[in-house]
Amino acid sequence: MNEALYPIAVFFAAIFTNNILLTNYLGMCSFLSVSREIKTSVGLGIAVTFVMATTTILNWMVYNYILMPFGLEYLRFIVFIIVIAAFVQIVEMIIERVSETLYAALGIFLPLITVNCAILGVSLFMVIREYSLITSFFFGLGSGLGWFLAILAMAGIRQKLARAKVPPGLEGAGITLIIAGMMALAFMGFSGMINIA
């Protein structure tokens, strides 16, 4: 494939064919608990996309410029999680100072993000697949948007579902997982559209 187009291919693959939630099952906890309303899932989706794109770059730099030269790759778990937690904390403080309305809209979601496994997962995938800096950025951004798309679709379906009659044993997590399964089936229709190694 054309070298210059590779990051773009990774970007679209991360959204559709290799959706972080529907094919790699990352970020399920908040996906199951926060997808009840469209409004909250939009807030969380934006926050996740932003944090994912930025922490992927930060972690790429830390991994390639600090950990690799000193042979400390095995410390990556601890270092990545510290970078993510610190970054989220800083963003929270900045948003609080700069904009009250933005803080009211996104503030409550930020602490949730530190424990969202999708964020750490994207950084770990980036290391395993040995992406370049540019590709990592597009991978992070695409994964975030893919996650956003999935939770938004789920919230839309669940709002309609509130009026449906669900077997008592399936209420809550059960039916959400079944819908997620159907969404995963639908997303499998995208496979073959983009092939990246």
């Binding site: 529907l22 094919t23 790699n24 099952y25 990352l26 970020g27 399920m28 906890c29 199951l32 608990s33 095995y74 410390l75 990556r76 778990f77 601890i78 999680i81 510290i82 937690a85 530190t114 424990v115 969202n116 496994c117 750490l120 997962g121 770990l124 995938f125 395993i128 077997p167 008592p168 044993g169 399936l170 809550g172 997590a173 059960g174 039916i175 997982l177 079944i178 997620a180 399964g181 159907m182 995963a184 089936l185 499998m188």
Partner: protein, 202 residues
């Protein structure tokens, strides 16, 4: 009193307080590693090791950890044990380590471990926390093993890589793919809720 408490601590996560099908925690790895029985066993052992020892360690230091930064401290303790798991797997089972990929590292963000640390280890003695952590790990492990059993058997006709179903069996490839994981877990939760939890509440 001690004996009864120990027993109660041990039993609860296996049944009515099960981390997976009651509290719906740790779903990511429940779905991701259950396509092969072999991977599942390795993964659950890693999670059990981490939950038990991190609960134990956090409980030892519970009076020293400042409340404001306790999440950070807990995460660091958990990450330390996950690094041990990662290094051991990489050294002794490189094939499985490769297949599990990022999911070993993602044990850190497995909500079960953090949940036990927050809800139990911070308020209880080390010995009891160790048992609670171990039992939560076990509660997680057996659910995953049941799901992996069905997914591998129906998806490839094998168990532990050994062919079980004969040539008459058409593989349900969907079972080892992502949608199968979602459906299988949903069905599991459904059956458990309908059959067992309903009986208890009567």
């Amino acid at each position: 009193m001690a004996k009864g408490l120990v027993k109660k601590t041990f039993i609860a996560p296996l049944g009515k307080d099960n981390p997976v099908f009651v509290q719906i925690l740790g779903i990511c790895s429940t779905l991701a590693v259950t396509n092969k029985l072999e991977n599942t066993v390795v993964m659950t052992l890693g999670v059990m090791f981490t939950t038990a020892l991190s609960s134990f360690t956090i409980s030892i230091f519970r009076k020293l950890i400042p409340a404001r930064i306790r999440m950070m401290v807990e995460t660091l303790i958990i990450a330390t044990f996950v690094i041990i798991v990662d290094i051991v797997l990489k050294a002794y089972m490189p094939d499985i380590w490769k297949q599990l990929g990022p999911y070993v590292g993602l044990i850190i963000t497995n909500c079960i471990i953090m949940g036990r640390a927050e809800a139990f280890a911070l308020n209880n003695k080390p010995g009891l926390s160790l048992i609670d952590g171990l039992a939560s790990g076990l509660g997680y492990a057996y659910v995953l093993l049941i799901i992996a059993f069905f997914r591998e058997l129906l998806g490839t006709g094998t168990l532990w890589g050994v062919q079980i179903l004969g040539s008459w069996w058409t593989n349900w490839s969907i079972m080892i793919m992502p949608p199968g994981a979602f459906f299988m877990l949903a069905i599991f939760i459904w059956v458990v809720k309908e059959v067992f939890i309903k009986e208890e509440s009567k």
